[in-house]
Every structure is written in C-alpha cells, then in structure tokens.
C-alpha cells in the first residue's frame, strides 16, 4: 500500500496525458478536482492488484463525453459519488475499491477525486493501459465481464442506470444519454471482483503514469532529453522526430478524423503520416505502416516532452512520435476485434512495432 497525495498529482497528470495517445481529455481539470478532494479528505491509499482480497468489489469511476464541455461545466465534484451510489443501489452491495477505467487523460484523475470523497482506496491499474473512446473497449469485455449495470450521473443530480444486452449496446445507449445530460457525465460501471483483477486490469498503471511524468520533469530540469526519459520508463520505440507540415481534418459519421504529415528534422529522413480520430491510431513512415492501434502512438513535444493532443496538432510543432507496445491481451484476435485498426475504419491489420 502507498498513498497518492497532492504532491504526486502533477507528475501523474503529465504521465497520464502522454498515455492518452493524443486523446482522453486534458488531465488538467481532473487534477484540480483531485487536488480539491485530497485537500478536504486526505491522501488516497493505493493497493497493488495482489493486495486486494478475492471477494472485494472494485468499481471503475470515470467521465464520459466531451472534454471541451468539461472545461466549461467543471464537475460539482459530487457526480462521481452520485454515480457510484446509484450503481451500489442496484448491485445491492457497496464498493470496496475504486479503479480508473482508463489511465490515459482526464479519466486517470477522476477516480482519485472519487476515491478521496468516498473514503475508499484505489487499485493500482486500469482497464485499458491507455485511452480508448468507447465504453466496451476494456479488458473486462475480453473475459466476459459486463459493463452493465452502468450508472450515469450529471451535474444537475439526475442519474440513470443502463441495462443492456451487450457491452457495445451499453456504449450506444449511454453515449446518447450523455448527450441529453449535457454532453458530460460521470459513470460507474464494469464492476470487477477481486479475483478478476489479474485478467481484467493492466497492472500498476497509476505508478507507471507517475513514474513517467516524474522522469519527463526531471529530464527537463536537468537539460536532458525528455523523450528519451519517457522511453526509458515506457520501453517503447522512437518512430520519428520531425516537424508537423500539414494537418487535415474532416467530420465523418459524427467523429472527427484527421491526418497529420511530419517532415524530418535533426538527422532524420523521410516523412511520417499520422491518422487520428480522438486518439492517434495509425503511423505510416514513407508510406509503410509502422504502428497501429491498439499499440500506443504517443506524440510528444520534442523539447519539453509534453504530450501533443490530436486537437492541438498544427503546422510547425516539433514533435517526436513514439510507439509503445500495448498490453498483449489487446493483440489477441478478440482484442483486435474490439480496438484494432479495422474497428476504427482503417483497411489494414495490426502490425507489431519495429524493434527498438
């Protein structure tokens, strides 16, 4: 057991931003909420997966909707707890632990705030190991864990419990409800038992995010290469260092799709093309695919190591693109069906990352 206090939040948020692979929402607002909750209720205990009793009830708590709206409609800070209580009411039992559903982006921070308010410990891990856009894209789906009942709560005090025939259907219904509830809601869903954590979570990702954020910060302070520091923690491969020379965006089927072209700088040659939707999903070097979802494609500002989101991609940015292997369960046929390139509408198969 360790604790997350206010002093850890900056590093954790920076690391979570990088693990958001261009999406997941800026952890900034989540950090403010977590800081406020810890100030009021004290630091949050964090347990390793192995420390959690097999009969424990672990509830992922998260936000769903548009990060842009979250910047305006800052949560009251009680919605997560409202969603949790609504879920507990239909489950007929109380949560014993909280866990992030995704480590990438703002959803790394919201469970910290929720755990502080609920007086519950966190489990060190998450259900994706990165950020994904839809509720069924979690490892528990692969082991037959249902994401329903799914409780949603809005800022006005409304709650809704979704029961659905599949995890995909729950996503569909919840996303439509989310729009009606003001485009930003809090969710509690995908309940895990203690003995399901090994199969249902990517372990130790809260620690990973904090280590990552700290390594980048220290490298920058010591005038060392922050991207190398990030790779040292993540164990990925540097795909390209370049400059964004072209960004193209369009809206199809309601989701924003874009493509960015990078040209070489600093001893690099050739070009890299990035395809993104909410996250960076595909990287082609000189026309050849070098990385695809579900592996993590992280775009970092070359000088600062700060994550570059898909929304902020623009001409002139100096970025380094790194590829980080996803959790191996994502590259099974079932994992790829949930979150591989074809699910996102790209006509190609997943390809392992090149050797470092």
């Amino acid at each position: 057991m360790r604790e997350i206090g206010i002093d850890q939040l900056d590093d954790l948020a920076r690391g979570a931003g990088i693990l958001g692979t261009g999406g997941g929402g800026d952890p900034y607002v989540g950090k403010l909420l977590a800081r406020e909750a810890i100030r009021r209720h004290g630091p949050v205990p964090v347990y390793d997966i192995g420390e959690v009793p097999p009969d424990a009830t672990i509830v992922p708590v998260s936000g769903m909707g548009a990060p842009t709206v979250l910047l305006e409609k800052l949560p009251a800070g009680t919605e997560e707890l409202t969603a949790l209580r609504a879920l507990e009411a239909v489950l007929g039992r109380r949560a014993t632990h909280i866990v992030p559903i995704e480590i990438g982006g703002v959803n790394s921070m919201i469970p910290i705030a929720a755990a502080a308010q609920a007086g519950l410990p966190l489990v060190d891990g998450d259900a994706m190991g990165r950020a994904f856009p839809e509720a069924q894209m979690v490892l528990p789906t692969l082991i037959g864990v249902r994401n329903t009942p799914m409780a949603l709560a809005d800022d006005k005090g409304n709650t809704l419990v979704v029961n659905a025939v599949s995890n995909h259907w729950a996503e569909r219904l919840a996303r439509a409800a989310c729009v009606q509830m003001g485009c930003q809601v809090s969710c509690a869903d995908t309940v895990l038992r203690g003995d399901q954590l090994r199969d249902g979570l990517v372990p130790a990702t809260l620690t990973l995010a904090e280590d990552l954020g700290r390594a980048v910060r220290l490298a920058r302070a010591g005038h060392a290469d922050p991207v190398a520091a990030a790779l040292g923690v993540l164990g990925g491969v540097r795909l390209f260092t370049g400059k964004v020379v072209d960004v193209e965006r369009r809206t199809t089927g309601g989701f924003a799709r874009g493509r960015a072209r990078l040209s070489a700088v600093r001893g690099e040659t050739g070009t890299l093309e990035l395809d993104f939707q909410n996250e960076h999903l595909l990287a082609r070097r000189d026309g050849e695919i070098v990385a695809t979802t579900p592996d993590l494609i992280c775009v970092l500002d070359t000088d600062s190591g700060e994550p570059v989101t898909t929304e902020s991609m623009r001409y002139g940015l100096r970025v380094t693109v790194i590829g980080v292997p996803c959790d191996p369960r994502w590259t099974t046929p079932e994992g790829l069906a949930l979150a591989g390139p074809r699910y996102f509408g790209y006509d190609c198969d997943h390809r392992p990352l090149p050797a470092a």
Binding site: G23, T68, E72, P75, V179, T251, R318
Partner: protein, 432 residues
C-alpha cells in the same frame, strides 16, 4: 499612436495607408496621456479623422499589482462547476490585491436553452448585500455564458439595483468556453476598470482639445480596435494589444497578410506570426500576471538580446503559420541589429502604424449540433451575424463590416456531430 514602456510613437497615416510622418518621444512613467500629447505635437498639424492608440498599461497594472480595483465575483452555476472556487490558483499577492468576496449561486446555461437552470435572483441579491462597501467592481460569470449570456445580464441588473453605479464585467463579453480561464479574465477586467476609466477620460479630454474632429479608438489583443467607451467597459480586451499592433503594422508596411514578424526592442526580440492579416494567437492559452486567462493573445517567442542568430532562426521557423516559407519582416527600434528579412521604411514605429490602419473588430462563438453537414452554412451565418453585431458595438461602421474568419471545429468524443463555430468580424472605425 503606440504608448510603449520606453517610447511613445506616433504616425500620420492617410486613409489609404500611406505614411506621411512619424515621431518618437520618451514615454512619461505612469502617464500614457502625456506621451500621447507630446508625440502628437511632433507630427505636422493636420485635420485628423481618427486617432488609434495602443496602450500597454493594462498588462503592467496586473503584473505590478498596482492600481487594481477590489472585485467581488459572482459565479452562476449552481452545483455544476462548484468544485473549484473562484480565484483558486491565483498568486497570493494578486489575490490579496483584488479579492472582495465571491459567491456561487444557482443558475447557468448549457449547450441548448433546454439545459438552462433558473437564476436564483434572491441569492444574487444576498451576494450584492454581502459585498456592498467592500467591492469596487463586480465580475459576473455564468455557466456557458459565451453561448447564452442572458442570465449574466439579468444578474448584473440585480447587482446594479442593489449597489448603484458600480463597474460590472460580464464573462460573455470577454472570453470563450473554459469557465475558470474566462472567470479569471473577467475578474482582471473588473479589476482594471478604474485604470481604464482614467485612461479613457484622460485620452478623451486631451484629444478633444488637440483634434476635436477625430474619433478615438484603442487597440485590442486580437489586432483590432475598439472605441474608448468600449475600452471603459471592457479593459481586459486591451491585454496583449501592444504586440498585436506591431504585427499589424509590419503587415501594413509590407503589404503582406501572412508573415513572420520580429519586433526588435532594446532588451529582447519578440517574434510573432501574422496569418490572414491578423496576429496568430498563442496555443494552449495565455497567462498574465501568473493567471491563465484563455483570451486569444498573440503567440510570441521571446529571444533575449544580445541574440544568438541560430536561436532567432529557430524562433522564426517555429512560427511559420502554414506550409511554405513565409517572409520575415523585421521592425522595431532595434531592427538594424537583425540582418536579413524585410526591413520596411517606418518599421521603427510599426506599432503606431498598426494601430492607425487596423479595423474595429468583434467575435462570437456557439456550439451547435448539426443534423448533417448541409446544416452548416445556416448555422454559420447566424454566428457571423452575431460577430458583425459585436464589431458594431465596439465602434465599427455598420455599413462596411465584414467577416474575416470563420472556423468550425468538431468536438471530440461526441456523436452528432457537435461543432464549435466561431466567427470574427471587422470593419472600418465609425466616423465621429
């Protein structure tokens, strides 16, 4: 005119943009009007249609924590957004200089009118009573006010009924989506109301005497102008206006709409970009006096002098705003120190020239859900109309206001599609 910290510049410019004469005089500390008076006296006597003045005093007042009014903050958002209190995260000394109470009351808008929560008018009255005697100005910040400013106006009317004549800043006039940053900008705007009123009165009096037939305008951070009356109501909009008018001036002197501009001062070089004739704004939000304000200030890279040519070249390259290399324009009092690039005549007073040739501006934004792409033009036209109206309120000639920029950005993680529409309008200053 351009009132800088060291010098006040003036340029006499014809209606079609020809520079007739320029002047440079030392600025008077703490007295921008004295510099304006002196510099104007150095220009050949001429019947002036208008005077446009670039002021940098607003930013200085915030960074020095001097001459600021005490502000009471009313946030209209009920339970939503209540997790983070007003002014949290401000530097302690600035907060101490400005804070005069805060309240969060029920109400607030949403993405659509059906999301609106009724305003708790009684709570607004209690807020006004509680801050009476302490507050010298009031900042009113409503949830989603940039999309629906009705409740901010309603609350302001209640506050005014309780407290009488007191400066009230409304967030819808100042910022965009992003509650905390817009709130910060609104509080600074209210805090600057005393400074702005004094400058506006001083300028109006001095110029009424020196050039009674001239309409008077001041520069804004987005590179456009606003009337003195608009400055008095929205001083926050003048933040960042100094660099903006230098960029505009560099464009006017070279006839370029797109360029990278190096403004060479005595102690540093400020490099910025001009896109479509206007300053490219900073990515990731602007900050002033240690407070994030989210208002679109020009994005600048500062290179200290004496400078390393490689560092300057890197800064210039970073600010290339679009594919293809744009020309570099070098202006400012120290322009001779930078070889290469275009060195236009009168570049030493680019800030004053930029003020003289700039239009009056206004902007508006809205988030809409479109049934399909074909609904975009109608939605865009409605937003453009609001932007035109905003420009006219700021002092633009209604007969000649044009839309200068329209953007549509889909919101991530939402079906719909939900699109954020933003329009900017500009027109020549309305004659007196």
């Amino acid at each position: 005119m351009d009132v800088g910290p060291t010098n006040t510049d003036a340029a006499l410019v014809t209606r079609d943009g020809r520079v007739v004469a320029t002047a440079k005089v030392p600025s008077a500390p703490e007295d921008p009007v004295a510099g304006v008076r002196a510099a104007l006296g150095r220009l050949p006597r001429h019947e002036l249609d208008g005077v446009a003045v670039g002021l940098r005093g607003a930013a200085t007042a915030v960074t020095r924590r001097a001459g600021l009014r005490r502000v009471a903050v009313l946030r209209i958002c009920g339970r939503s957004a209540s997790a983070v209190r007003p002014l949290s995260g401000w530097p302690a000394d600035l907060r101490a200089a400005v804070e005069a109470g805060a309240a969060i009351v029920d109400g607030g808008g949403g993405l659509g009118p059906e999301d609106r929560v009724p305003l708790d008018r009684e709570a607004v009255r209690r807020f006004a009573g509680a801050v009476a005697g302490r507050a010298e100005a009031v900042a009113v910040v409503g949830l989603f006010a940039p999309l629906d400013g009705e409740q901010e106006r309603e609350a302001a009317a209640i506050v005014r009924a309780e407290l009488g004549e007191i400066p009230i800043s409304l967030s819808a006039d100042l910022g965009t989506i992003g509650l905390l940053e817009r709130e910060n900008a609104t509080v600074l705007d209210a805090a600057l109301s005393g400074f702005a009123a004094a400058v506006a009165d001083g300028l109006a009096a001095a110029l009424a005497e020196l050039c009674p037939a001239a309409a008077v305008f001041v520069t804004r951070g987005d590179g456009t102008l606003m009337s003195l009356a608009y400055l008095a109501r929205h001083p926050g909009l003048s933040l960042g206006s100094g660099p903006a008018s230098v960029l505009r001036g560099a464009g006017a002197l070279t006839g370029l709409a797109d360029a990278v501009v190096a403004d060479v001062g005595a102690r540093r070089i400020r490099v910025g970009a001009l896109a479509g004739g206007f300053p490219e704004v900073a990515v990731g939000g602007a900050e002033i006096g240690g407070v994030p304000i989210g208002v679109g200030l020009p994005g600048l890279i500062r290179v200290p002098r004496p400078f390393d040519p490689a560092e300057l070249a890197e800064a210039v390259d970073r600010l290339q705003p679009a594919a293809g290399r744009l020309p570099l324009v070098v202006v400012g009092g120290g322009a001779d120190a930078v070889p290469g690039g275009l060195h236009p005549e009168h570049g030493r007073t680019a800030g004053a020239i930029g003020a003289a040739v700039s239009p009056v501006g206004g902007q508006y934004e809205r988030i809409v859900r479109l049934p399909d792409r074909s609904a975009l033009p109608a939605a865009t036209e409605a937003v453009a109309e609001e932007a035109r109206a905003a420009a006219v309120r700021a002092g633009a000639d209604p007969r000649h206001v044009e839309i200068i920029e329209v953007t549509d950005t889909p919101l991530a993680y939402l079906p719909g599609p939900f699109v954020r529409l933003r329009a900017r309008a500009a027109g020549p200053p309305s004659p007196l």
